[in-house]
Symmetry: C2
Subunit: 918 residues, 2 copies
């Protein structure tokens, strides 16, 4: 066994004052090099964060007796030290040298010994997989002498010089920072000269020549930035194999910070201070001739989940060649013919690994002169479809429990199954990128006006609605369109929220796009696109594509459905849907919604048949005139409510009273105002003055929600009348079990709900008396303003339930308007001010603290107070987990997210219940 | 002594189930009738809430031996019972009868006995003074027989029938609800017939006739709504003196709910459930002849504070006549000639009362046939000037302590001294009313454009700026104008906030006003007012007046200044001012500011000389161009800062980095955009598109504050450079002691301040190095978003101080835009949803809770964290008291509120220190 090596020793020996801050010492006084080989290992999967994924996998495989070439792992903790000091400390260098000596004695080779050289691979490997993001160097230990020696030893000069020129190329690129195209250019020239198109077919003379040319390239370059004892002090010491090793280790540590790796971490929210481990391993060669090969395999099919080893291999090649695409690899099934025993060994190893890891694995292997070696194993990435099938089948095979199976499918994978996708194999030309507001893909003719979208769609044309931004009056056009593209707005702008509700693809905040509504055209990066141009939107990536690009239709697999049924047995949170229309309610029920958590009534005000009455209501300057206007709307609203309540027979339906400011129901364009004046019998001046007077500086914080209910009591009274009439009619005439929940929006003070609740109750009683019908209706409120959360104890006295409106609560808590955030959000994300978008996942520190206060205060007043959430966050898995933790009764989300929320709720319950039993 | 009477007895005897909810029982098992007379009393000032102001005063005066006619008081607690049951309970009636019997035996008279009738007054009196709001009935106990008897007894038939017709008139009006004009009409007819113009001169025949006619009027009316045992069961029993009494008591209780009383309570925030007491007192008569009189007196002058009894009296009159204005009362000095001994008694009583109550008193007295009687004493209302003088002089006289003196002047009285007032004696015609946004009065020619205001003002004209609303670009015009009038906006709209800062009168939200900017005119209720029309604004009342109305200039009195100096010795809160300009800083210092708590830098961006550079900055699309634009602004900003820092030599100056969204610096009108295009060399289309792109849906929640600092780092860097350069120059060249505090606005997350603080520090270090100067600058943040309060512990790690921006904090906590609130705030106030306007006084339950969280979390991180407030609330006395309670270090307010805040801070400190020692 490798002797314990203390980081402390390594870092402190050279300094006169060995005292470091205590916190540093704690971190460093730990083992930092882990050895594996000969069925023994210093660590395996339990040391993932120390050894990285690759190192831990190699250790684990060694431990369970698989054929793994010996090697050692430098801890991830050394990475941050290296990044700070930009060199390996002398004591660490000594320890590395000792580890190399151990490898020498174990393999019977010697590092730098031409007669029997130890050759090494140096690879990165973080605790979280970052495939291809960092650097790797193979064949290390080759120089002029050992290359010659390897040739002699193997009797294969081509192999030896091919390996040598590969090493030089990688080292030059990774350590010395030489543009890899310089090497590729020379390689290309030699292939042309030799008349071959495959690297493996280059004759020895070319390979030797290349090695020489590569070395010339490298020595002509400026010395690498590395320095320090035994590390060359800035000189290039290519013939010194130890120098090679130290430089390579440093370069791999340093590759943690190369831009693509940093970007990958940013996208995947991987902490910057995690660091990579470095695995130094004895080389085995798949390029040692026709009896050698390299390959990759998945223990089950990563695309379909089928239970059969799946992968590719390449004869006489190193691992890199399999994935590089320079030669065409063969399917694994062909391996049986090439080397039956290696193939059998692979299948056996795969089976063993699955039984050991209880999950599908992604492995790399090499066959060196007929000997089978494992070089990597890790959890295999897979599609949603595959994940569901593997999870269900493994549970049925008894490998994992149903609980574990439910945890195996990520909510996003589940959601992804539903959306149409741009065919990955299709050619695409990206015109612009915006925010991926609602996933899916759609092609169609662009139009700029909602009416045009409706008209063209009625003619059977597929259209995409392109707008600067959308507003509630565009809703018809949005329904008609296949997808929506806006130049402005953020992830929770009107367009984004509404389209996610519709399960329709949408891209917002596409700043390269300028929409010229008057001229019926748009412009992207200087190119003009008239109405009717065919485009494709990829709402999953945010890409705007030229022309029609083929798409693949999405749906849940059988296994996904089965997993969801299992999930339902584990969750405690109920899942409801936000739905404004009977059609939406039907979709929601299909996806398993257990009620409607938010039925917005304002969309019902925009219909052609009622907008006129709404506008008459707005200009009415006395309660009488207002009452007469709302009475026109009443029968239509009653009908709307009957539709939804009928669909949700037996399930609760939360209906929110009118929320938006009234000016949203007035037109904005001059022509429309003229039209308005005509219809209402006003002068143009009066109409303009009306529109102007109603205008608000900050409509989000304006005269809306229950404020409207207080000042325009006729509206809420009409709505309550319509709801209760609808419910009475259904209950008495159609025997439908109705459970209406009336919800008051934008409450800030208990006095508001006190007044409104008594009005609601008195209207409800009057209607029930009229129908001689008794209903179990309840009255509750949105908690969507910080103040409502802060005085929730007082509000709860008046209310039967709370529903968190986390969109507005996030906007007001942060003081950020979702409609205006696009101009600074990219900078905020780039600078990591927002690690996650608070409009996508509940901000637990701020908004979440208010929610916790509201839950605590509300339940202090009423222990059994029903509390849900109906903001966009209700469909976000992390937020669902948070809601579970808060002890909410339900989450409500868009119909298309219901299944996702069911799964997320189950996972939250399972995770909070502690470790899963196997 | 009156025997203890238990409410419980009164209310429960008649019901079979005496059990009431426990809480009711607790309230009711208390004494409800208090007797006073013959130097003994059941209670005095200690029972204010039970006996009401009038009753407690009478009890107290009785106790200290003053001549008070005996009587009894029905507790305020009976009021709410009466309002609920609409009658007096039988047991209560019995107790009243017993109290009357006690009066009979004490006075040797009998109620209803013609030979020597007991006559009573029945008066209201709540714990809080509501002068003239409720009802009174005098001379009760008179009927056909007792009137005749009284005539005989006094030998003065005129007196007897004058008293009788007065009683009938009051009873008819108050109890029976007969329009008082019916009585006045008959009285007028009789005076005409008799050829007299004074009620007192009516001959006996007329008086007798009037009594008869009044009775006819009364019996013709519908029975009063009162009923119940001994209360007439709906019949009119005018001859029954007991019936008179019960009806009168009921009517006085009921008068708690008459509209003027309810409205008065609404305006003065008096709780509705307080209720009034009823005082039943033996009548004494000032109208018993030329040796009788009634009068009112203040122990010191209520207008000036001069230490001399001040008041009026009327010979041969009842108290009502003195204040009714039907006869001209005489100044008290004339009383000496009329009856020297009564006058001497009055002066003695006044002196005694002041020494007893230790405050200036307002008393009512009656002289009956040469005998002096006290009928009322209460704390005298007074002007601010008077309050200050009385407080200072009483302290110097040794009557009260300096602490008490400081508590005697209300902050609003102090503030009122400063404002010009519309001369109360001037004739005024009110054209419209708006919200009184900033007090004071101003006359001038109306103009509609800021440039016109500047131009006319430069010509020496006084102008009023009239706008739909104001924006930061109007600032020049606002400075030039005498007052501002806007048709839109609420109490914290831009116009309101800025004018309060300037101490300039302003009316906002004047909905009867329509401003036609294009036509250079406005309209009020259909009347057109062209530019140049003379108007007067009364910012104290919100009235818009026609023409020029004369005004009175305001300033602090000598005593007010002295009180303020005393106040400074008691307060712990520091008081700073919000000032953007050197002139403002000078004013602030004059008013005693101990620093600048908020210097907004955005106003500095609007100057003609810099707006162009600002606009170049906005259109710049790369950091280079932005940097070059801000470099133009730098020297001007540095100059601004030097001006302010110089004025505040030795005191801290908190400078807030740029806060508003950049689009505020772009024009809105088409012509101005054309101008913009020309200046910046853009096409009109490009300029319009720029303005359009910059537009925000909710600018309040948009790309502003530190978000701008994050995305446009050049701006903040320039500002920091300008601040530090200014400070270095002053410190090194002018030996000014500079204490700059750099404040970052609109922070929501610690990550924001972390980035910005390090940028600030690095710029500051660079500049200090350049000047070889070391400054004690600090860096802090506004806490103006709920999230900042919720994560204040993290933010405090990066910051040296917090400053609450309670304007924005209130807006976001409530989700109310101050610019849009005017449309629903009146309804909210009317319905008492807002008992106080949260933009005027800190909402302690909601916003205050967040502030408390922020203080607690902030000081958990940094125990000595300096915390202040710079929102508008900093000048509101209630909010200042709350800030004292929270333990803030300072409040900052507009320069003209500094003295108010000093006084309020002292009062808060004194009040929180417990009862004041005398």
């Amino acid at each position: 066994m490798m002797e314990q090596m203390e980081m402390e020793k390594i870092t402190t020996k050279r300094t006169k004052k060995p005292r470091k801050p205590a916190s540093d010492q704690v971190k460093l006084s730990k083992k930092v090099i882990y050895f594996f080989g000969n069925k023994k290992t210093d660590g395996g999967k339990e040391l993932l964060s120390e050894m990285g994924g690759k190192g831990a996998g190699l250790g684990e495989m060694t431990r369970i007796g698989l054929p793994v070439p010996p090697g050692f792992v430098l801890s991830t903790r050394l990475c941050s030290l290296y990044r700070k000091e930009k060199k390996l400390s002398a004591p660490l260098v000594k320890e590395i040298r000792k580890a190399v000596e151990k490898l020498e004695s174990m393999t019977g080779t010697r590092f730098g010994d031409p007669s029997n050289p130890l050759l090494l691979s140096v690879r990165s490997g973080a605790a979280v997989s970052m495939p291809g993001m960092m650097e790797t160097i193979l064949n290390l230990g080759l120089n002029e002498k050992t290359a010659e020696g390897l040739a002699k030893l193997t009797g294969n000069e081509c192999f030896a010089y091919d390996s040598y020129r590969r090493f030089l190329q990688m080292f030059g690129d990774v350590v010395l920072g030489i543009d890899s195209r310089a090497f590729e250019k020379k390689l290309g020239e030699e292939k042309r000269k030799a008349g071959v198109d495959d690297d493996a077919k280059l004759p020895l003379s070319s390979l030797r020549k290349l090695a020489g040319e590569f070395k010339t390239l490298m020595t002509a370059t400026t010395p690498p930035p590395l320095e320090g004892e035994g590390q060359g002090e800035g000189e290039i010491l290519l013939e010194d194999v130890h120098w090679q090793l130290y430089q390579a280790i440093g370069a791999v540590f340093a590759s943690w910070d190369i831009p693509r790796a940093a970007e990958y971490r940013r996208i995947h929210n991987i902490p910057d201070d995690l660091g990579t481990a470095v695995t130094v391993q004895t080389m085995v060669f798949g390029n040692m001739g026709e009896d050698s090969a390299s390959g990759v395999a998945f223990t089950r099919n990563p695309a379909t989940g089928e239970k059969r080893v799946y992968g590719e291999f390449l004869v006489n090649a190193q691992g890199e060649d399999v994935v590089a695409g320079t030669r065409d690899p063969l399917p694994l099934s062909r391996m049986r013919d090439w080397n039956p025993s290696s193939y059998a060994e692979l299948l056996e190893v795969c089976d063993l690994l699955e039984k050991h890891y209880l999950d599908m694995q992604d492995v790399e292997f090499t066959v060196q002169k007929g000997n089978f070696w494992m070089l990597q194993c890790r959890r295999g990435k897979r599609t949603g479809k595959s994940a569901a099938r593997i999870a269900v089948e493994m549970a049925k095979e008894g490998l994992i429990t149903k609980e574990e199976a439910v945890l195996r499918l990520s909510p996003e994978q589940l959601s992804g199954m539903l959306h149409n996708q741009v065919d990955p194999s299709a050619h695409k030309e990206i015109l612009a990128e915006g925010l991926p507001a609602s996933p899916g893909a759609a092609s169609g003719h662009i139009v700029f006006h909602p009416e045009r979208a409706v008209a063209w769609s009625a003619q059977g044309k597929k259209v995409l609605l392109v707008r600067p931004e959308t507003s509630p009056e565009d809703i018809g056009g949005m329904h008609a369109a296949q997808g929506i593209l806006t130049s402005r707005g953020g992830m929770t702008s009107h367009a984004a929220v509404v389209t996610r509700g519709m399960g329709k693809c949408c891209i917002v905040g596409c700043f390269d796009l300028t929409v010229h509504l008057d001229e019926n055209r748009c412009e992207i990066k200087g190119e003009k696109f008239p109405e009717g141009t065919l485009l494709t939107l990829d709402g999953t990536t945010g890409e705007v594509l030229r022309g029609t690009v083929s798409t693949i239709k999405g749906e849940f697999s059988t296994e996904a459905r089965e997993l969801l049924q299992w999930a339902d047995t584990f969750r405690t949170l109920k899942v409801r849907a936000n739905a404004d229309l009977p059609e939406d309610a039907a979709v929601a029920r299909k996806f398993g919604a257990e009620g409607i958590g938010l039925c917005r009534t304002e969309h019902m005000f925009f219909g052609e048949d009622r907008i006129l009455a709404v506008r008459r209501l707005i200009i009415a300057n006395n309660p009488e005139a207002r009452r007469s206007a709302v009475q026109e709307i009443l029968p239509m609203q009653r009908n709307d409510f009957m539709g939804i309540l009928r669909h949700m027979d037996g399930l609760p339906v939360t209906i929110r009273l009118l929320d938006p400011p009234l000016h949203e129901f007035l037109p904005r364009q001059k022509e429309d105002i003229e039209e308005l004046a005509k219809t209402l019998g006003l002068t143009l001046e009066a109409a303009e003055s009306l529109v102007d007077r109603m205008r608000e500086a900050n409509p989000m914080l304006g005269h809306r929600g229950c404020r409207l209910g207080i000042t325009h009591s006729e509206i809420y009274e009409m709505q309550v009348e319509a709801i209760i009439e609808a419910a009475c009619l259904l209950q008495t005439k159609e025997n439908v079990r109705v459970i209406p929940e009336i919800m008051i929006p934008l409450v800030a003070d208990a006095a508001e709900v006190k007044i409104l609740r008594s009005r609601v109750d008195s209207v409800a009683q009057r209607v029930m008396d009229r129908y001689s019908c008794s209903l179990d209706y309840t009255v509750g409120t949105m908690i969507e303003l910080p103040r409502a959360a802060l005085v929730a104890d007082e509000i709860a006295e008046q209310m039967d339930f709370f529903s968190f409106g986390t969109n507005d609560l996030t906007q007001t808590t942060y003081g950020i308007s979702r409609d205006d955030a696009a101009s600074f959000m990219p900078a905020y994300e780039e600078k990591k001010i927002f690690v996650t978008d608070p409009f996508a996942s509940i901000d637990e520190k701020g908004v979440g603290k208010l929610m916790a206060i509201a839950v605590e205060l509300g339940r202090k007043t009423k222990k059994q107070l029903k509390i849900g959430i109906c903001g966009e966050h209700g469909g976000d898995p992390a937020s669902v987990a948070f809601c579970h933790k808060l002890g909410l009764d339900y989450v409500s989300c868009s119909p298309y997210r219901v299944a996702v929320a069911r799964l997320a709720a189950a996972q939250a319950a399972l995770r909070s219940a502690g470790p899963i039993k196997k």
